[in-house]
């Protein structure tokens, strides 16, 4: 009966714990997609040539808007407003764009997404995919943004706006005509915290969105090959991104070290591009400095992904959602950054035909990995048992030796039985 009661109580407590700590949906999501001819709410069907992917996530205290624009240079825009009661994101999206002007030339003022001029609004423009001839295998240390436009022997590029996109199941697939290069962007718009199911298994919160780039079968040009020896290859890929802030201050890259690489084997660093604002919101772009070289995403087939800062103002905002929102005059900071894929000294993986990179954009504090409960329990048991053994063993030895125990012998005397202590 006692055992049954104990079991029942334990089961009840476990149920309470499961219910309490289970993933609680913290935001309600509404998604809107549009191309030239169609627009959909929460669709899973294949969409050819999508123009806008619009997500509105209503929380208790605020509403977040994520907008992917494939018109012009692909752009991800995030803005935050006080909590909105409007749950019809289709009408919000339609009210946020002047479609004719926006689709024609993305002229300034043709987009006005809620919050774009508020205390937190931020966009990343994925501008160019650069081919970089790394003859000395220096990777990010050998990449010079200032010489990008002048040195055609070392640099060539594709414009991301040249890709033709399709969208299905949260995946954007881009291809270029007469080119084998493919770009796949896997999106994740979460309503609550969690972790990606694929490496690098990024930890995200309800205040962030992740995107996973995969460049496949890139056609490297002659600058990435040695004419005399076909074994010698030099090509590295670089993704040029433009950070277009509104009212936010400049950002800086901060590296965070973690003891735990359980979720991203052999990666102990997390990079955050942090920026602050006049309001209460801070923002971040977070990524792990790893780029996988195969679909299996093993750490043994990977290279580093390191950010190189460009000079502010060196690159103009291209035709994109960012231009439509900010133009040039009110763009604020236009910070070019370059994500260089490659490891210094690694002459084994140039001209890679599979290059991946995962990033996370969000606001508030960046999520941080902690040591998992599995490891804590393992260490506790592993050290606890010997400690217990030492303690119990010590007590057992102490008792067995009986230093304090006396043997009493009773013998009869005139006064009666008397106790004699005999050790």
């Amino acid at each position: 009966m006692m055992a049954g009661t104990a079991f029942g109580l334990t089961f009840f407590l476990l149920c309470i714990m499961v219910v309490t700590f289970a993933n609680e949906v913290k935001r309600k999501k509404c998604s809107f997609t549009r191309n030239e001819t169609e627009q959909y709410l929460d669709t899973k069907r294949l969409l050819e040539n999508p123009q806008i992917l619009f997500y509105q996530l209503n929380g208790r205290n605020d509403t977040v808007y994520y907008t992917w624009s494939l018109v012009g240079a692909p752009t991800l825009f995030i803005s935050v407003t006080p909590a909105s009661q409007d749950t019809n994101c289709a009408s919000v999206a339609n009210n946020s764009f002047d479609w004719d002007e926006f689709t024609a030339d993305q002229s300034y003022g043709s987009a006005y997404i809620p919050g774009y001029n508020g205390s937190f609004a931020f966009s990343i423009v994925f501008n160019r995919l650069i081919e970089f001839s790394d003859r000395k295998y220096r990777a990010n240390k050998g990449f010079e943004p200032s010489k990008l436009n002048n040195n055609t022997d070392r640099y060539s590029w594709l414009h991301m706006s040249d890709f033709n996109w399709t969208f299905q199941d949260n995946e954007l697939t881009g291809k270029i005509e007469n080119d084998s290069t493919t770009c796949v962007i896997r999106l994740n718009i979460p309503t609550s915290g969690g972790r990606l199911s694929y490496f690098p298994k990024t930890l995200y919160s309800e205040n962030s969105t992740t995107f996973d780039f995969v460049f496949r079968n890139f056609e490297y040009s002659s600058i990435s090959k040695n004419k005399k020896d076909s074994n010698l290859k030099y090509g590295r890929l670089v993704l040029e991104m433009l950070f277009v802030h509104g009212q936010l201050k400049n950002g800086s890259v901060k590296e965070r070290f973690s003891k735990d690489d359980e979720y991203t084997p052999s990666v102990f660093i997390t990079n955050n591009y942090l920026f602050g604002g006049n309001g209460t919101f801070d923002g971040f772009l977070q990524w792990k400095p790893i780029s996988y070289l195969s679909k299996s995403r093993k750490s043994t087939q990977s290279q580093q992904a390191n950010l190189v800062n460009g000079k502010i103002g060196d690159v103009d905002i291209p035709s994109s959602l960012a231009y439509a929102l900010y133009g040039i005059e009110t763009a604020g900071v236009v910070q070019p950054v370059y994500m260089v894929y490659g490891t210094e000294g690694d002459d084994n993986n140039p001209n890679a035909d599979y290059v991946s990179w995962t990033g996370m954009l969000g606001f508030g504090e960046p999520p941080q990995d902690t040591i998992s409960i599995v490891i804590i329990i393992t260490i506790a048991v592993g050290l606890g048992v010997p400690a217990l053994l030492i303690g119990v063993g010590g007590v057992y030895i102490f008792i067995r030796r009986k230093p304090w125990k006396h043997i009493y012998v009773w013998y009869n005397t005139k006064r009666g039985y008397t106790k004699v202590v005999n050790e």
């Binding site: 087939q301 000294g345 592993g382 050290l383 053994l389 030895i397």
Partner: protein, 560 residues
């Protein structure tokens, strides 16, 4: 007959997993020739002239003299240098192997696992092969050939860009590797028993570890310097061929040793020893304490060698070390071990308290792995942890391997050490695969946690060993002085027994047919063991023939 105990044989020990030879059964007799010895058929004058100018009379050529002995020592050092240099070829080039051969950590660790698999069996029978079938000289050459050809196949695997061929090469290499160390020990005992044997063992271990250290520090730079070879697999194969070159030198040393030893045996008329005895039936008589020693051995060593195999990339990824610095840091364990093993051997010798040293070594290694697991990315942590691991590894080796000699009778030592090495190799065959899979899927923190868990198991066994020893008033943790006193008391008791009952010191009756008072048998088997261990006891033929494993006794002249 030897006057040295197994304890003296094993200390200062260092890496005693390579030391296993029952010197009780080797009668060293580098005897002197009579002064007036004259070859047959020689005339007086010519005899005198020939005697004066005989090569044997010159210091370096005379096997009875110290210089020749140390020349032989030089050859012995070279004997296993190639093997130790090549064993850790994968660890020194781990990232190169992974990128060039396009493998993951699990497949990479097969290179270590396959080395250990043949030694699960060979640890048991290697000594018997040397003593009974091959002989020490021929056996040494055979095993050296396996090592050399194994490394050749391994290098060809690089040249032909075939990972399967590399695995085959490592397997062949493993067949010879461990047994070659046993052969090296046999030579050491033959030439230095009763002389500088302890120093020789220490030196052999140190030279071997120098080979490992050289490999760690040279291979990566060699690979970079061969940049004129653009084909990466061929470049890797060429680096591995350098190891093949060292193995060829070791093979030549084996041949030279054999020739010199044959010559010395002829000159000094050396008697052949009785050799190894392995009897698997003895396993059932092993005590719980002995099995705990086995568990400590396997659960400890699987946290050292597999870790060294993976450490270079770990140091690069977590601490940001460049490849050549990571290799240097990784080699610290071997370097420290080479230097301090003799020192700790002497310390354990002088103080005793083996179990305390043992548990201290385990706890210290646990601390090093915990530092790797939970420490920050500061650059000083790997240096301290690796140095600590080298020290702890040396301490444990000095304390652990002699325990077997305290727990089993002398004639079971071969079996006991064979089982211990066999179990150790089984662990070293399985754990690298587990470690590789953990790194591939879960990262290095979980790998270090796994190693910490193994060390916790070793610690549990070590503590249990201590408790059992304490409660059963065993002798494993005696101080050196107490052990010495115990030995003396035993000798005096036997002397008294001899005086009282006319019983020989070996405990065998003079012929009265009575069971000696000095013996307190518990079973017929234990009585037989005690008699055998007293030297000189003879086993009836019908007992020998019952068990094929013991038929070797017939060949060793022990039957009536």
């Amino acid at each position: 007959a030897s006057t040295m105990s197994e304890k003296e044989l094993l200390l200062p020990s260092g890496d005693i997993n390579k030391r296993r030879y029952d010197i009780q059964h080797v009668e060293q007799s580098i005897e002197t020739l009579p002064e007036n010895y004259i070859p047959e058929g020689a005339s007086d004058n010519s005899r005198n002239r020939r005697r004066k100018y005989r090569c044997d009379n010159f210091l370096p050529c005379d096997p009875r003299r110290w210089m020749h002995r140390f020349i032989m020592l030089g050859l012995m050092c070279f004997l296993s240098f190639g093997s130790y240099y090549c064993y850790d070829n994968p660890a020194s080039l781990i990232r190169t192997f992974i990128e060039v051969m396009k493998i993951d950590n699990t497949r990479y660790n097969l290179l270590y696992s396959l080395y250990s698999w043949p030694n699960v069996i060979l640890s048991l029978i290697g000594g018997v092969l040397l003593d009974r079938y091959l002989g020490v000289r021929f056996g040494t050459v055979v095993f050296s050939v396996f090592v050399t050809f194994g490394q050749l196949i391994f290098a060809l695997g690089g040249i032909f860009d075939s990972f399967i061929l590399m695995l085959v090469g490592r397997f062949v290499f493993g067949i010879g590797g461990e047994s070659l160390a046993v052969a090296q020990n046999a030579y050491a005992v033959m030439w230095f028993k009763g002389k500088e044997l302890n120093m020789v063992f220490g030196l052999l271990l140190s030279i071997s570890r120098v080979g490992s250290t050289v490999n760690m520090n040279v291979n990566s730079k060699m690979f970079d310097s061969f940049s004129f070879i653009t084909d990466q697999p061929k470049r890797l194969g060429l680096v591995l061929f350098v190891g093949f070159g060292w193995c060829v030198l070791s093979l030549l040393a084996a041949v030279a040793l054999g020739l010199f030893d044959k010559r010395a045996a002829k000159i000094t008329k050396r008697k052949e020893g009785e050799g190894e005895r392995i009897s698997l039936r003895d396993i059932k008589d092993f005590s719980l304490a002995l099995w705990l020693v086995f568990f400590v051995c396997v659960f400890y060593y699987v946290t050292v060698f597999p870790f060294i195999g993976l450490a270079t990339v770990f140091l690069e990824d977590k601490y940001g070390f460049p490849a050549h610095i990571a290799n240097i840091v990784n080699s610290l364990v071997y370097l420290i071990s080479a230097g301090v093993s003799p020192v700790f051997g002497i310390a354990v010798d002088k103080t005793g308290f083996n179990l305390i040293w043992l548990n201290f070594g385990i706890i210290a290694t646990l601390g090093c792995h915990a530092a790797f697991a939970f420490g920050s990315g500061s650059a000083f942590i790997p240096y301290l942890a690796m140095i600590g691991m080298g020290l702890a590894y040396s301490i444990l080796a000095c304390a652990l391997w002699p325990l077997v000699a305290f727990l089993v009778p002398e004639h079971q030592l071969g079996t006991a050490y064979g089982i211990m090495q066999s179990v150790q190799n089984l662990g070293l065959a399985i754990v690298p695969l587990i470690a590789g899979a953990i790194v591939d899927h879960k990262g290095y923190l979980l790998l270090e946690t796994f190693f910490c868990t193994c060390l916790c198991v070793a610690l549990i066994c070590g503590v249990l060993l201590y408790v059992i020893d304490l409660t059963s008033e065993g002798t494993l943790n005696l101080s050196a002085w107490a052990r010495h006193r115990l030995e003396k008391e035993k000798e005096e008791k036997e002397k008294i027994a001899l005086d009282k009952n006319g019983i020989s010191p070996g405990g065998v009756s003079d012929g009265s047919g009575e069971i000696p008072i000095a013996l307190q048998p518990h079973s017929a088997f234990q009585l037989r063991n005690r008699l055998l261990s007293r030297m000189g006891a003879q086993i009836p033929d019908h007992v020998v023939r019952i068990n094929p494993l013991t038929t070797s006794f017939a060949h060793l002249g022990l039957t009536k």
